[in-house]
């Protein structure tokens, strides 16, 4: 896949950080405002996909990117499963909200919901980016270099 024009590349470099930051904001405020791990993870994946589309995949080594995306996906789902098993390790039941609740409407509140959201965000973002690399960056029959 070839990159786009200079205009697109410049604008992409300006806004891709903001998109990434907005995704992180949505993930971290999942227990306070609408959003959460799924939506934020997809926005983070969208920032990476915008970068790949604008810069072109020739400059990037896609095999390494795919390997890393796969690694982060496994890491995210491991975090979520670990938090779910935390209750079992502590001697009570599965999926118990063990951590302190904190004050409502503060960032560090709601026990395991915030770390769960972070785990889901990593997992979903890496998963969608892996799907995009695998499906869209594959060499078609048409383009020969």
């Amino acid at each position: 896949m070839r990159g786009m024009t200079l205009i697109v590349k410049t604008i992409t470099r300006l806004i891709v950080g903001l998109i990434f930051l907005y995704g992180i904001y949505i993930v971290f405020h999942g227990h306070l405002t609408p959003g959460g791990g799924f939506a934020g993870g997809i926005i983070i994946a969208g920032a990476f996909i915008l970068l790949v589309l604008a810069e072109g995949s020739e400059e990037l080594s896609t095999e390494v990117k795919k390997w890393r995306a796969s690694l982060f996906e496994s890491l995210g789902i491991f975090i979520f499963w670990f938090l779910a098993m935390l209750g079992v390790f502590a001697g009570t039941f599965f999926f118990l909200n063990l951590l302190p609740k904190g004050k409502p409407l503060e960032l560090l509140s709601a026990g395991i919901i915030l770390p769960c959201n972070i785990g889901i965000g990593i997992e979903v973002g890496a998963a969608l980016f892996a799907i995009f690399i695998t499906l869209a960056v594959l060499k078609g029959k048409g383009d020969k270099e």
Partner: protein, 195 residues
Amino acid sequence: MLTILILLLILMILGAIIALEGKDLLSAIISLGIVGFALVLVFLILQAPDLAIVQIVVETLALIILIAAILKTTREDTTETRGAKKIFIYLCGLGFLGLFLFFINQTLTELPRFGYPIMRMAGNYLSLGLTKTGASNLVAAIILDFRGYDTLGEVTVLFTAVMGVIVVLRKIGRRTREKLPDETKVTGSRKIEEK
């Protein structure tokens, strides 16, 4: 408000029909986008911003991936069905439509009126959500605390699906790659070295 909903639903049905019947695949994908983005508006009107955020980003990503696939392959719809097969398909469709209308007619009389749910379970969630979980967004409290098992299942399904995609669509298997001569090993790191 109900009128806007009905208009949006009619728009979605029209978009779906055009997406199915269009001969140009690019315009079919764009009319598929109409269905998705109208669904975003429906979610917003029904006061579900969580779902609206997820739907708008998923729809955008899905459209990007589909358009990338179209640009790689072809814009023409080449599927054709003729003769007895076509009649059979239409008969099956009509039979399914009849069954669907029959059962939905029986079901809809049992349901509570639109916009007035019974709230037997949800009432408890609404009143106890903040004190039991500490999360001020009730949707997060429900999907990650009261209904955590469902979310765990969803995430596991997504993980398995991505594993399947990566395994099925890999370029060369590891064992074949070792047998091949050096020049056919096309990896990204190698290409950068060449440049």
